[in-house]
Symmetry: D2
Subunit: 323 residues, 4 copies
């Protein structure tokens, strides 16, 4: 069987690191490049985080590109510290070194996206794990990009009017509403979305997480290290009583989108419907709307509903058996 | 036990008629007045519909007041024909007669609201079943009204980002977003909301509906008549396979709000949280946002979640045993 | 010649006081009532200010009505202190007394507007000198009011994209953008607007102001008193070098609108065009747009351009020769 | 004296053609490149138009780059036909040929902008004559571009709340409000703006226009040809009685911006103030707001007020004495 060609666009925080490792561990996937975007932390930290993940997994030959440092229109929201200020739990050393700059490609992420997709028309799966700024800029520089993609997987948006950054809006979409709007309106390739509520409603147990990071591999030790401080609560007695909306548990957000791309059978139910991102309003801005009324003639996408947790768990477990 | 004092504000369609009958049938409730608002149909039809319901139930001594004919700001949405163009299924005769004008009170609904509430400070339960225009105008003319109310029950809004008039917005709120916004921001009395999703998720069966309207009373015959044409599908084989989001069934929308006011034990679970209505945006406008993040310092209300369907069914059944 | 019937709606600050005196001094005008609105100061101060002006002019038989205390939608802007916190220069005594409450009519300003206009259909000139909240509420309670008016004079809005409260929006309109929008869309009677730029471009000299308040009458002494503190700069050497946009001078804002109503020949040039108030946006909100492109099919009004300053000066001078 | 280095970003219509010729005729200017943007017509037509102008002036060695084909966010406005559907008066032949594609640079306009400016830090004057999409994309791909520019000249925006595409908004800004917003917020280099009202208030006579295009040169003949059809009215008796707002006359819009860049003394008065573009609202969207109140802490720019028409006329006359 031929390999899937994948490009990952990421704002590399802890869950992105996990998601990238899942892709790296997939034997049927060839990663053409990883493009970086601001989001969980600033884009310079994101570049360093991706390089670090590749280094841990001994896959440094994969090119990494620096992309957007801010959202498309208006002032950029402050970064949230869910994964520490550096995005990987604030425990890694050598942040001050500039050697990473020699390891980043000279080409801008947006230009690399356009080039790599154009070199493999109809073959590339694009997986977007952060704000969608690089994708929006790419379609502005080359409007033919969406039709050259094989498909698009997105972690972002919401589907029950519930959000995490704002009452009705999810972090990735809310960090750049205009780019989210543009991507959903103009990337008319087959599109699969792992919303925030989807990931929360398909959570894993903290007991599984314990097992996951207890493996005796470089990747598992790395994951244990970067979660040691900012997810300290996950080692505490109360860890199973946190979230009021969805209950408590281990939710490796971005990993669902990568898993769905690697093996479509991980997603056991999706709903196909028109979607649009609201860009106006104090509360609506950044919210993804699902249209079941037929009011919108907008892009029909696949919104994930349920996940085969057994299969997904296996993939996660295998992903940390590297290198 | 002393009687509850109730004012009903309504855009009287079929479900409002059912809801009003439920209140009329409650021995512990005294209805001080019914105020009319545009919504399911124009306000003149609404006035006639309310008078007709009172006539059927032989309760014509209850004063009926004409109120807002349009939304607060901007052009009013066209009326939807869910309940026919006249709001009561387009089957009633005598629409051309002007005798109803002699039966309507001279006082404007907004002034009557202010007067009736002020005459019974702390005692009146206000039940709002249509667009909230009359309530918004009342608080502008007399800002002390909310604090003089005992409590407020609203059928309207949404709680899962799903709507019926628009992808994310429910009919009553969407017909006048600014008034919905004003009422939720300024009516700081205890407030209970029956959202669209709540009513849909607590539906009854069409078999119950058959039984309900088969009773040998004037009220049941009236309900059978007004549902005969516009709910014709409910007498067809496919009636149990309609709605994709919530399944199919009989949902007497406004009746949940009245029932909750008449007997609080009908509602078995509510969630208390801050809410706000979005008034901007193509998709957000008219949507009610629930804040579980603590971002909004807005009014905390009780959003209904589950209903004791046995008790509610009994109340509905009794409501048509009139007069 | 028969008398003009006039209702004045005001947020009585110093310029409103001057404008009311101009109306009181006009022998061909009968003032049916004065309705009060928040604006330059809170509505209770406005009521007291109007009563004080009528008292100074010995015209206390004119009924005064209390109206809107806040804008139609959303939080009310803080009052600006251009005319002091009490609206009349913070120099008057007896603010703590409650006797004014006995002098205010019991009827709400909005109801009085509806009643007075309905009692004299086609005869009443309405002059609006503050935020347009009372007018907006009146048309919501009785949509027939605009067609029963003879005409409408407004001080408010802007016509060159320049504002005083905001970069593009004038105080009266900006204090309640939704009400301004409603009034311009729905008051389809002949409408004459004295914008902020119009008043500034038709300014009088500070020397004229000196002469005006130096007259030996109760009214002139009152005007001298209330301008003594907050317009202290007008007695200083630099008084002729203040404003960068329009030069310096004495601009009795609201008095232009009353003068235009009393004697139409005071306005020597107007432009008739469609107008609309923008209600959205950080910068556009509250701005009045003039349409010379034919894009808007909205209300065509008369926007004042030039004023016969000789005639206007005489009217002002005469207005302080009371009682 | 050393040459000024200039990049022209254009949506080449008739006035852009005139403006480019003015730059070409300036002996002290070296044009590093011309970047193309949609606007007066689609970006393919714009490319062809620029190449045609360079050909007429025998300056085909100047590189031309294709840029944005649509606005940054949302659907692009239909092109207006003020200069014909092809932007140059619908009179030129050979539109169907594809040879122009071989003459356009391979590099995208946005990348060329970044490269050319970075190669000459602090030395390049950028003159923007169309929608500002290319400039907005450039600063997103390389946030350091604005500080590397010498200065920026823009034809666009409005300063009296009057527009041509919309009642309050000028064509170039209104065709891409978000890009206009971004450029004015983030291009913090010295910025000079020729607004629509500025150009209209500094119009030339149609008699001058007659003289201008009557010159016996290739450039003048070209200008005569492309204006022959769509400006046919300018050869008619009524040509001096067209515009209600600003009177009638010959207004070579974009040429003012180029002239100001070539020779700063052409502009005899400017006002320095904070500006911001409104991006929301039916009427405000695309409007440039000038802040004389100190409310905005935004970018202070030089808004042109008056022009030395004698000097400007001479430059225009000389610009058509090519080649």
């Amino acid at each position: 069987m031929s390999q899937k060609l994948m490009i990952i666009d990421t704002d590399c925080g802890i869950d992105d690191a996990q998601a990238i490792m899942l892709a790296l561990a997939s034997s049927n996937v060839k990663i053409l490049g990883i493009t970086c975007c601001f989001g969980n932390t600033d884009v310079d930290n994101v570049c360093q985080n991706v390089l670090r993940v590749l280094s841990v997994c001994q896959r440094t030959q994969i090119p990494v590109f620096r992309g957007a440092a801010s959202c498309l229109v208006g002032a950029t929201n402050p970064f949230k510290d869910h994964f520490g200020t550096d995005g990987l739990g604030d425990v890694l050393q050598d942040r001050d070194s500039d050697t990473w700059k020699t390891q980043i490609q000279k080409e801008h992420a947006v230009n690399s996206l356009i080039r790599l997709v154009s070199e493999h028309p109809g073959q590339v799966s694009l997986v977007a794990l952060g704000p969608l700024t690089n994708l929006a800029l790419a379609v502005r520089l080359d409007p033919s990009i969406p039709q050259k993609l094989k498909d698009l997987y997105i972690m972002g948006g919401n589907m029950e009017g519930k959000g995490n950054l704002m009452p009705c809006a999810e972090f990735n979409f809310c960090m750049d509403p205009e780019s989210s709007y543009i991507v959903l309106e103009e990337y008319l390739c087959p599109t699969h979305i792992a919303t925030w509520e989807f990931t929360c409603r398909n959570k894993l147990s903290w007991e599984f997480f314990d097992e996951l990071i207890a493996q005796d591999t470089a990747a598992a030790r790395f994951m244990k290290t970067i979660t040691s401080k900012c997810w300290a609560f996950s080692q505490e007695p109360g860890r199973n009583a946190k979230d009021v909306l969805f209950g408590s548990g281990f939710v490796p957000y971005d990993a669902y989108a990568v898993a769905a791309c690697v093996d479509g059978s991980v997603i056991t139910e999706s709903v196909e419907c028109s979607v649009r991102v609201e860009i106006q309003g104090e509360l609506g801005r950044g919210m993804m709307a699902l249209d079941f009324l037929g009011k919108l003639k907008s892009h029909r996408v696949f919104v994930m509903k349920t996940c085969n947790l057994t299969k997904f768990s296996s993939m996660l477990m295998a992903s940390l058996q590297q290198p």
